[in-house]
């Protein structure tokens, strides 16, 4: 992880501790001190990890407005009966509320996908930031095509064929970029420190509009408008 | 999906409003009732997941157009493999909801 942090923030400009699959600390982004909160090692997010994430966000809020960087690497929610019994959806909703509070309190929020961002885990943690960037080699998905084929009872070959034509259901950072859910895909040769600083200088939620511009989601924006203005 | 449209003679409807009846789930269908220009004809548009049953559809829909005052109506059907009995039932329900006596 140190190598990644050095590249993102510069050597000697970060102090981030890890515990289990959770990472938390401070780092300099440009000339600003930021809070860094994240998961790594394709973490499965259970109630305990969810509580750590929300606690870290609330701590940051109590310190007053400053940038918050989420680093997401999650295989999705933990799949156990125990977590369902606890009401893991409620723990995820609590993360979402904490993120929203941070935004309302003037924190700028950026998510960096470093590895995997899957389904419910991504939805709760990361997807609600103002800006989402993906590191090279990252993967974003709801479900892989094989499992999707099993559940929808549509031939895998058909899905594979359609996945080449449409960004709407198949896994892939590029697809999510076209749909407007990922703002930037970084490359290996980029200066990540510079890119991170400039990501934090953007604001607002224009994902549906971006998805329309990029040709990935042609209906979301006009339909929402149609209902909102009817 | 198999799609076809039929235009059937029917006695002019007495009154109607737009209505949607039924749900597109396995063995079920939805029927959308709307107004359409020609007074003594009923236009029926079918989209069904069960292929090769057009004859049966035509029989059921002909019965419907004969037994109801459905002239001037446009019925649009999304079907997910309903039996003829369910189709007849939904058509009658849709017709009732749309306010035609």
């Amino acid at each position: 992880m140190k190598e990644l942090f050095d590249r993102l923030f510069g050597m000697g400009r970060h102090d981030i501790a890890t515990e289990g699959r959770f990472l938390h600390g401070k780092a300099m982004i440009g000339e600003e001190k930021a809070t860094v909160i994240g998961t790594f090692g394709h973490a499965a997010i259970d109630a305990v990890l969810a509580l750590r994430i929300s606690k870290a966000i609330l701590e940051a809020v109590s310190e007053g407005p400053h940038p918050i960087l989420f680093i997401a690497d999650t295989q999705g929610q933990a799949l156990t009966r125990h977590n369902e019994l606890l009401g893991l959806n409620g723990y995820f909703a609590h993360i979402a509320r904490s993120v929203d509070l941070a935004r309302r309190c003037g924190h700028r929020l950026t998510t960096l996908i470093n590895g995997e961002a899957v389904s419910g885990g991504f939805l709760a943690f990361g997807m609600l930031a103002d800006r989402i960037c993906a590191l090279p080699g990252s993967e974003v998905r709801v479900m892989d095509l094989r499992a999707m084929s099993r559940v929808t009872k549509i031939e895998l070959a058909t899905l594979e064929q359609l996945a080449r034509e449409s960004p709407v259901f198949a896994p892939g950072v590029e697809n999510f970029w076209r749909m407007g859910a990922i703002h930037e895909i970084w490359s290996e040769t980029d200066n990540w420190q510079d890119r991170l600083s400039s990501a934090f200088s953007c604001n607002g939620d224009e994902r549906a509009a971006i998805g329309f511009e990029r040709g990935g989601r042609m209906l979301a924006s006009p339909i929402a408008q149609c209902v909102a203005d009817a | 999906m198999e799609k076809f449209t039929l235009t059937l003679k029917s006695v002019p409807a007495e009154s109607l409003r737009t209505a949607l009846c039924g749900v597109v789930s396995s063995g079920n269908l939805e029927v959308l009732v709307e107004h359409h220009g020609v007074e003594d004809a009923c236009e029926i548009e079918v989209s069904t997941s069960a292929h090769g049953f057009r004859d049966i559809w035509e029989a059921v829909l002909n019965d419907f157009a004969r037994e109801h005052k459905a002239g001037g109506l446009r019925l649009s059907i999304n079907d997910a493999g309903a039996t003829p009995a369910v189709v007849s039932l939904r058509l009658s329900q849709a017709f009732e909801i749309a306010g035609a006596p």
């Binding site: 509580l51 606890l86 995820f92 609590h94 419910g120 609600l128 449409s166 549906a208 | 997910a80």
Partner: protein
């Protein structure tokens, strides 16, 4: 009339004041899913959700109802955009409440990416209206329950009204069984599924704020009562203090029930009498909850 058995449209008509429902983006506009069409799958003229405005007890509300029997009430691009548009509308229309009749397994896999993004947009829009002082109520009592992203959306609402048949959770039991095996979660064991995700468990935990009988009038009465109590105690924005309290509560639950895998453990801790809970009616359940 049973809420569970009713269609989305029947639920709306039974919940709101007679003759007041006005639908936006109605079925005759035929805004169907182009993605289902590409897969040659059946379409629905409303893409499985009806949205509009109405009155409840004379008060203006906005309402959305998912049709749980159309593709499991799943959220695709159009379906999700209709709900988000309704929430955007709430910002200008300022209704007394927004009612979300949730009946959904979550993201529609046929258009998974669009569905996931749509749910994240619904979450943001929901948080925005709440910050503007407009309360949102989730009603859960349909066959598809409230799962996946819609389980999260449900818990973002200010009030959650459930029947005992309603199910509220994140991952469906079938998904857990497929990935982790039948010994982790036997999705065919209906009684177990219900003890882990059902209305009586969620009410005992405080995840649901009302437990009602499976009838449309019972849901209507609860929604009306909650709307009126929100008039008396208008919604304040959630503060840091509120969220720290939530943090504490959720944290305590995860410690208190750190080994629990069956709802009986929660009933034992939260009810004055936890015997034969599946058999008792709502009135008896609510009495036992209050008595503790």
């Amino acid at each position: 009339m049973s809420y569970f058995e009713a269609s989305a449209r029947t639920r709306i008509l039974g919940l709101v004041d007679a003759g007041t429902f006005q639908e936006f983006c109605p079925p005759e506009m035929r805004q169907t899913s182009p993605h289902l069409a590409r897969l040659d799958a059946p379409l629905s003229f409303d893409d499985g959700v009806a949205v509009g405005r109405a009155r409840l007890s004379g008060h203006r509300i906005l309402i959305a109802a998912q049709e749980g029997r159309f593709n499991g009430g799943s959220v695709g691009e159009v379906h999700g955009a209709k709900i988000r548009g309704l929430l955007d509308r709430a910002m200008t229309e300022r209704p007394s409440a927004v009612l979300l009749l949730i009946d959904s397994g979550g993201v529609r896999l046929h258009e998974a990416n669009a569905g996931l993004i749509a749910i994240s947009e619904i979450m943001r829009a929901l948080l925005r209206i709440q910050a503007a002082g407009i309360p949102a109520f989730a009603l859960v009592g349909g066959a598809s329950g409230a799962f996946g992203g819609m389980g999260i959306v449900t818990r973002l609402c200010n009030e959650v009204i459930m029947s005992e048949q309603g199910r509220l959770s994140l991952s469906g039991p079938e998904v857990i069984e497929t990935v982790k095996g039948v010994e982790e979660f036997d999705s065919k064991d209906r009684a177990l599924v219900w003890r882990v995700t059902g209305g009586k468990l969620r009410r005992a935990q405080g995840e649901a704020t009302r437990l009602v009988e499976d009838s449309i009038p019972a849901f209507r009465a609860a929604a009306k009562e909650l709307m009126e109590s929100h008039f008396l105690h208008p919604l304040a924005e959630k503060s840091l203090h509120d969220l720290l309290e939530d943090q504490e509560r959720l944290s305590e639950r995860s410690i208190e029930f750190s080994d629990a895998r069956d709802g009986q453990a929660v009933w034992d801790a939260r009810l004055s009498d936890s015997s034969r809970v599946p058999e008792i009616d709502c009135e008896e359940f609510n009495r036992r909850l209050l008595a503790k």
